[in-house]
């Protein structure tokens, strides 16, 4: 299994976030606080996480899911989970 780079993960996560939140790439910067953004509620975040889990074929812990606020944090958790799945 090839290693998925953080840049690739961030790009995919951002594309999913755009689809699920309706926000633009310019608004969805890596360090933007998702839960503080207009129109983004916990259900939208969970739908985004569900799509991310399916895309990367991973299963994230609830503690991680509810502890993430930014796409950079999502990317770090996904990167770790992908690496664990490949180990």
């Amino acid at each position: 299994m090839t290693t998925t780079s953080a840049d690739t993960i961030l790009r995919t996560v951002t594309e999913i976030a755009i689809t699920e939140t309706g926000l633009t790439a310019a608004e969805l910067t890596p360090d933007a606080d998702l839960r503080a953004m207009a129109g983004v509620d916990s259900v939208r975040v969970l739908r985004m996480i569900a799509r991310i889990e399916r895309t990367f074929d991973i299963e994230l812990d609830d503690a991680d899911v509810f502890g993430m606020s930014t796409l950079a944090e999502v990317t770090a958790v996904v990167e770790r989970s992908v690496a664990e799945a490949a180990a």
Partner: protein
């Protein structure tokens, strides 16, 4: 809703047992969910459902445990139909995004990731509302089993095992492997 009421529904192998009582999919179980399953062109398996107050939790809300049952049922039958092997659920994680409401239409869509080596078979499921919004997701692992090896745990006679063997080996119209594209 039974398979017989949906022309596009696929018969599950267990239907060859005249009195099978699966809580999830048997039309003979009056207190069950009576799910029927429709194969999709992309290899997924889908079950539409609407649950009444018999399955209520908080007023007007479907009991969460039943959501897990629906997902388990569709994932498990996708494995039986696509891999042609029965399997026990080993583990299941269900994430609830929004409450499911009583007497509303939903559908559960199950998919299989590409086949892996030996070991438990992973599966995914989503519950979608009438607008296609995801309301719940579930992942699970299934351990295939040999009907003959678990005869002491299943109440099946020799004729029924033979019927099931034949049903499991008979071709169905499901997309090859039911694999997610």
């Amino acid at each position: 809703m039974t398979a017989g009421e949906r022309p596009d529904a696929v018969e599950v192998p267990w239907s060859v047992i005249p009195d099978y009582h699966c809580f999830g999919c048997s039309p003979h179980n009056a207190t069950g969910l009576r799910l029927s399953f429709t194969p999709r062109a992309d290899g997924a398996l889908e079950a539409a459902f609407r649950l009444g107050r018999a399955f209520e939790s908080y007023p007007g809300v479907v009991h969460g445990g039943l959501i897990g049952v629906v997902c388990d049922e569709v994932m498990g039958n996708l494995i039986v139909l696509a891999r042609r092997v029965p399997a026990f659920t080993v583990s299941q994680r269900t994430r609830f995004l929004t409450p499911l409401l009583i007497d509303r239409e939903y559908r559960c869509v199950a998919t299989l990731p590409p086949a892996r080596a030996d070991g438990p078979i992973p599966a995914h499921a989503e519950i979608l509302d009438a607008n296609g919004a995801v309301c719940a997701t579930s992942t699970a692992s299934y351990q295939p089993f040999d009907l003959h090896a678990v005869r002491d745990q299943l109440t099946l006679d020799d004729d029924e095992v033979a019927l099931l063997d034949h049903a499991l080996s008979t071709a169905n119209t499901l997309s090859p492997n039911g694999a997610r594209p």
